[in-house]
C-alpha cells in the first residue's frame, strides 16, 4: 500500500525536492509517470481503440502532448505565452497540406512540420522572449488572434471549413483496425516520450534554474541563470510540443477544423493545464484527459460543457491552486501519514526529536570552528590566491540618473582581494543602486566597473556571477516552496552553459546539492537542509541567503543589509561570521547599524545624496564630523 502511495506521489510530483522523501531521491527521475502513461495508454488503446472511449482517449492524448509542454513552460517556469494553439495549428495544417497537396506520408510531413515549427519558434521566440511577464503574455496573446484571422481568410487552408487529409498516422495501408490501433499506439508512445523529457528536465539542475526563473527573473540572473537563453529554450520547447500535438491530431482525426487555431482553443488548453495542475507534467496529462472526456461524453455534461468546465475549474482551484495533482498529492501525503508503518513512525519521531533538540539555532556559526585552517578548505582562497592588497574591484566615477534625478554622482571606490568593507548612508543615498551597478542589474549612466582587471560595466548579471560576484538582497529573495538545500544549490549549479535538452540524459543536480550541503555543514546549518524556506525564522532565512552567496566560493560578496530585522544577539553572531568570511574573500556590506559597521569593517564608505562623502577606517569613521551629522544626527 505504502509503496503504491509512494509511486503515485512520485508520478504527480513536479520535483522530488518538494516532499524530498528519500525513496524519491533514489529512484530514476521521470520514470514513474512515463511508465504509467505508456502502460495505461497502451491498455486503453488496445482494448477500446475501436470504440468511442478509445477515440476520445487518443484525442485527449494529442492534447496532453501539448499540455505537458505547457506544464514546463507556463506552469513550472511561469513564462506565460499564448502560442500553443497557433503552433498546434502549424503542425496540424502543415501535415494536412503536405499530405493532401504533396502526397507525403503523415509521419514524414510530421517530422518536417515539427522541425519547421522549431525553426519558426526560434525566430519568433528570439523576438518575443525579450519581453518579460505581462508583456510576454499580452504580446503572444496576439498570436492566436493573428492566426485565426489569417486562416479564416486563406482559401487553400480551407478557410472556416477546415482541411481534410487522407493519410493516417499509422504508415502504410492496412485494415481499419490496424490503422486505428497503430495510430493510437504511436500517439501514446510520443506522449510518453514527451512526459519523460518534461519530467527529466523539471527534476534536473536546469529544472531548478527554471523554477527560480519562474519565481523571480532578477534573482535568477543574479544567481547566474542565463535568463534570455532559458526563456528562448522554454518558448521553443512549448512550441515544439504544441506542433507535435497538432501533427498527431491531424494524423489521427484526418481533419483539421479551423477551431484548432481559434483563441478559444488556447483557452481550452489552459483549462486542461490548470485543472490538472499547472506545475505537474503528469497532472497536465490528467487534465487533458478529464476535459476531453467531459467534452466527449454524450449526455447532459457535453451539452452544458461550458457550465461544467466553469464550475469544475472554480472548485478545483478553490480546493488547491495546484489543481488535481495538488489535491492528489495532499491526499497521498495524508494517507501516508495514516498508514505509515510503526517503524517509519519511530523514524519520524526520532527526526522530530532531533529537530526539537536543534531548533532554529545555528550551533557554531563560525567557519573557523569547523575549518581549522581558517576556512580555506574548499580552495576559494587558494584558487583566487593573489596578494591580499591587489585590487579586485574598481568603480570609476560612476553616475546614475533616473530621468532627471541623479542617484549616483561621480562615485569611485576600490576594493582589494580580501577584507570586510561597509557602505553606509541615509535612506535614498544610493547604496542599493551602487550595489546593483556592481552586481549588474542596473547599468550606470556613465563610468566604469572593473573587476579583476576586466571592464564588466556592460556585462549582464549572470556573467558577473560566473566571474565571482555574488550578492544578497535587501528583502529576502529566497525561493519559496523549495528546501534550504535547493535554495543554496541554485548557486552551485554547473548547468548555466548547458542546453535544457542535455538534461534529458542526466542531471547534475546531485553534485550541486552535495556542494550546497557542504556549505550548509560549514555554517552549522546542515540540520536545516530539508526544511522548506518559508518555514524558517527571519534570521535563518538571512543565513540561507548568506549560505547561497557563499556556496559558489565567490571572490566578491555584496551583502545588502544582512542584519536588518535581526536581534542584537543575532547581529553579533552574524558579525563574527562576516569577519571570518573576510579572511578568504572580499565582502562589501550595506548596513545601517553603525556600531556593527565600525566594529567589523576595516574601511567604510559613506554615500549621501549620491555623493561619496566619506572613505576611511573605523577610527576616522567614529570621529568624522560628516558622518556624525549625517548618520548620527548630532
Amino acid at each position: 500500500m505504502n509503496q503504491f502511495l509512494a509511486a503515485s506521489s512520485r508520478a504527480f510530483q513536479w520535483s522530488s525536492a518538494v516532499a524530498s522523501s528519500r525513496a524519491a531521491r533514489r529512484a530514476p527521475r521521470g520514470g514513474v509517470p512515463t511508465v504509467i502513461v505508456l502502460v495505461v495508454g497502451a491498455i486503453i488503446v488496445l482494448n477500446y481503440g475501436l470504440l468511442y472511449t478509445g477515440s476520445v482517449f487518443v484525442l485527449s492524448a494529442c492534447y496532453a502532448i501539448v499540455t505537458a509542454g505547457m506544464a514546463v513552460q507556463i506552469g513550472f517556469s511561469q513564462q506565460i505565452a499564448f502560442s500553443q494553439s497557433v503552433f498546434f495549428g502549424v503542425g496540424a495544417y502543415g501535415v494536412a497540406m503536405l499530405n493532401t497537396h504533396l502526397h507525403m506520408s503523415v509521419l514524414l510531413s510530421g517530422v518536417i512540420m515539427v522541425v519547421a515549427a522549431a525553426l519558426v519558434a526560434l525566430l519568433l521566440g528570439s523576438v518575443v522572449t525579450r519581453a518579460s511577464g505581462l508583456a510576454l503574455a499580452v504580446a503572444t496573446l496576439m498570436l492566436p488572434l493573428i492566426a485565426v484571422g489569417y486562416v479564416s481568410g486563406t482559401g487553400f487552408l480551407g478557410g472556416p471549413v477546415g482541411a481534410p487529409l487522407s493519410g493516417t498516422l499509422w504508415p502504410g495501408s492496412g485494415s481499419t483496425t490496424l490503422v486505428a490501433l497503430g495510430g493510437g499506439l504511436i500517439v501514446v508512445v510520443l506522449l510518453a516520450a514527451v512526459v519523460f523529457m518534461a519530467s527529466r528536465i523539471l527534476s534536473s539542475d536546469i529544472g531548478l534554474e527554471l523554477f527560480v526563473l519562474g519565481v523571480d527573473e532578477r534573482t535568477a540572473a543574479a544567481l547566474g541563470v542565463r535568463t534570455p537563453r532559458r526563456k528562448l529554450e522554454l518558448f521553443v520547447l512549448g512550441c515544439v510540443c504544441a506542433a507535435l500535438g497538432g501533427v498527431v491530431y491531424a494524423g489521427t482525426q484526418q481533419f483539421v477544423p479551423e477551431t484548432v487555431i481559434d483563441p478559444t482553443a488556447e483557452l481550452a488548453l489552459l483549462i486542461m493545464l490548470f485543472i490538472g495542475g499547472r506545475r505537474s507534467v503528469f497532472g497536465a496529462v490528467i487534465g487533458a484527459l478529464v476535459i476531453q472526456y467531459l467534452q466527449g461524453a454524450s449526455n447532459w455534461v457535453s451539452v452544458n460543457i461550458l457550465i461544467v468546465e466553469g464550475v469544475l475549474l472554480t472548485v478545483v482551484l478553490l480546493v488547491d491552486p495546484e489543481g488535481l495533482s495538488g489535491i492528489v498529492q495532499t491526499g497521498i501525503a495524508w494517507l501516508r501519514r495514516k498508514s505509515a508503518p510503526p517503524a517509519a513512525d519511530g523514524e519520524l519521531a526520532a527526526a522530530g526529536n532531533a529537530g526539537q533538540e536543534a531548533p532554529d539555532e545555528i550551533a557554531g556559526l563560525s567557519l573557523s570552528s569547523v575549518l581549522p585552517d581558517g576556512g580555506q578548505a574548499d580552495g576559494a582562497a587558494a584558487r583566487h590566491g593573489g596578494p591580499r592588497d591587489a585590487t579586485l574591484l574598481e568603480v570609476r566615477s560612476v553616475f546614475k540618473e533616473y530621468g532627471g534625478l541623479s542617484v549616483l554622482h561621480d562615485v569611485s571606490l576600490a576594493l582589494p582581494e580580501r577584507g570586510l568593507f561597509a557602505l553606509c548612508g541615509p535612506n535614498g543615498a544610493g547604496k542599493s543602486t551602487l550595489l546593483n551597478v556592481i552586481g549588474g542589474s542596473v547599468a550606470p549612466s556613465s563610468g566604469e566597473v572593473i573587476f579583476s582587471g576586466t571592464d564588466i560595466t556592460r556585462r549582464p548579471p549572470h556573467e558577473r556571477f560566473y566571474q565571482g560576484i555574488s550578492r544578497t538582497f535587501q528583502a529576502v529573495h529566497l525561493i519559496k516552496g523549495r528546501t534550504v538545500l535547493d535554495n543554496v544549490a541554485v548557486a552551485c549549479l554547473a548547468s548555466h552553459t548547458a542546453s535544457i535538452v542535455t538534461r534529458i540524459g542526466r542531471s547534475r543536480l546531485d553534485a550541486a546539492r552535495a556542494k550546497a550541503a557542504r556549505t550548509l555543514a560549514e555554517l552549522g546549518m546542515a540540520h536545516l537542509a530539508d526544511r522548506e524556506v518559508s518555514s524558517l525564522t527571519l534570521e535563518m532565512q538571512r543565513m540561507v541567503e548568506l549560505a547561497r552567496a557563499l556556496a559558489p566560493s565567490p571572490r566578491l560578496m555584496l551583502l545588502d543589509e544582512p542584519a536588518s530585522g535581526l536581534s542584537e544577539e543575532q547581529r553579533q553572531r552574524l558579525a563574527a561570521l562576516l569577519v571570518t568570511l573576510a579572511e578568504r574573500t572580499c565582502v562589501l556590506l550595506v548596513e545601517h547599524d553603525l556600531a556593527l559597521v565600525a566594529q567589523v569593517s576595516e574601511r567604510i564608505f559613506v554615500l549621501s545624496g549620491g555623493h561619496l562623502v566619506f572613505d576611511g577606517g573605523p577610527a576616522d569613521f567614529r570621529s568624522s564630523p560628516v558622518v556624525n551629522s549625517l548618520l548620527v544626527g548630532s
Binding site: Q78, I80, V127, V128, R130, A131, S132, G133, L134, A135, V138, A139, T140, L141, M142, L143, L145, I146, G149, Y150, G153, D216, E217, R218, A221, T227, P263, T264, L267, L270, I271, F274, R278, N304, I305, L306, I307, V308, E309, G310, V311, L312, L313, T314, L317, L318, P321, S441, V442, A443
Partner: protein
C-alpha cells in the same frame, strides 16, 4: 469623407473598448484580479433584455431594469461565495495567474448559462433610439453609436469624479496601492472589491445593451469583448484606468482605419500584429513592467 466616417466609427468602437478596459483596470487596482468575465456581463445584458422584451413580452424599461438587477445579484453572489473563499480565507490564493483563472471559469460558466437560457442565435437588445443616422455634411452619425458615446461620457465621467473627488474613491485608490496598509487604516478592502465588481458588472451590462444593436451578440460574444478590453487595459499596465481609456479609443480608431484603408479582411490581423510589435518595441513606455532591471 471616408476618413471622417471611419473616424466616427472608430471612436464609437473605441469608446466601447475603452469602457471595458476601464472596468478591467479599476477592478484590478482594487482586487489584483484580472476580470475576463466583464464581456460576458455585457453579453448577458444584451441577450437578457432581448429575451425578456422580445420573447417574454415585458415592457422595455422593465426588461432593462430586471436584467441589470439580475446581473448585480449574480455578481454579488459570486463575490460572496467564490471570491470570499478564494481571497479572504486563511490561505488566500495569490498570484495574478491563478486568480485570473477564477474569472476565466466564471466566463465559461456565464457563457454556458447563456447558451441554455438564450440559445445560440445572434440577437440584440432592441434599438433604444431608432431612426436614420444623423448627417452633418457628408458625415454620418449613427444614432446607436451616439448613444454609446453618450453612455461612455456619462458613465466614464461619473466614474472619474467618483475616483478623483470622493472619499470612497480615495479609499479605493488606497486599496489598490497597498491592500494591507489600507486595511490597517480602517478601509474595508473587501467591501470595495465587491462594490467595484458589482459596479463594473452592471456597467458592462449597460454597454452590452446599448452596443448590441450595432453588432449583434451570441452567447460566445463575451470573450471577444473581454479580450479587447483586456488588451487595452494591458497597455495601461492594468493599473491606470486613464491610459486604458486612451488605449481603448486608439485601438478602436486604428481598427476602423485599417479596415477602411488597408484590408477589410485582414485589417484585424494587421491590427494585432501592430499591437504585438508595439509591446515588444516599447515595453516600458507602454506600461508593461520589465523584470530585466526592475
Amino acid at each position: 469623407m471616408k476618413f471622417g466616417n471611419l473616424l466616427i466609427a472608430g471612436i464609437v468602437t473605441g469608446s466601447i473598448y475603452a469602457m471595458f478596459a476601464v472596468c478591467v483596470s479599476v477592478w484590478y487596482r482594487v482586487s489584483n484580479i484580472l476580470n475576463l468575465a466583464v464581456g460576458d456581463f455585457a453579453m448577458v445584458g444584451a441577450l437578457g433584455v432581448d429575451n425578456l422584451y422580445r420573447v417574454k413580452g415585458l415592457p422595455l424599461p422593465v426588461a432593462v431594469i430586471t436584467t441589470l438587477v439580475v446581473v448585480a445579484v449574480f455578481a454579488y453572489v459570486y463575490d460572496q461565495v467564490v471570491l470570499r473563499l478564494a481571497q479572504d480565507g486563511r490561505r488566500p490564493i495569490e498570484g495574478i495567474v491563478v486568480t485570473f483563472f477564477f474569472t476565466f471559469a466564471l466566463s465559461f460558466f456565464i457563457d454556458g448559462l447563456a447558451k441554455v437560457l438564450f440559445g445560440t442565435d445572434v440577437h440584440a437588445a432592441p434599438t433604444l433610439w431608432g431612426g436614420q443616422a444623423l448627417t452633418l455634411g457628408s458625415l454620418n452619425f449613427p444614432r446607436a453609436g451616439l448613444l454609446v458615446l453618450a453612455c461612455a461620457i456619462i458613465i466614464g465621467g461619473a466614474f472619474w469624479v467618483y475616483i478623483k473627488f470622493t472619499l470612497g474613491g480615495k479609499a479605493l485608490e488606497a486599496s489598490g496601492e497597498n491592500s494591507v496598509g489600507a486595511r490597517i487604516v480602517g478601509i474595508d478592502t473587501r467591501q470595495y472589491r465587491r462594490l467595484i465588481f458589482l459596479g463594473t458588472a452592471v456597467i458592462a451590462a449597460v454597454f452590452g445593451i446599448v452596443e448590441s444593436p450595432i453588432t449583434g451578440f451570441t452567447y460566445l460574444s463575451g470573450a471577444t469583448i473581454s479580450l479587447t478590453g483586456f488588451i487595452a487595459a494591458a497597455y495601461g499596465g492594468f493599473r491606470k484606468p486613464g491610459r486604458a481609456l486612451v488605449a481603448g479609443l486608439f485601438i478602436g480608431v486604428l481598427e476602423a482605419m485599417l479596415g477602411g484603408y488597408v484590408s477589410a479582411q485582414y485589417g484585424d490581423t494587421v491590427l494585432y500584429a501592430i499591437l504585438a510589435a508595439a509591446i515588444l518595441a516599447w515595453p516600458r513606455a507602454l506600461g508593461f513592467e520589465s523584470a530585466v532591471s526592475g
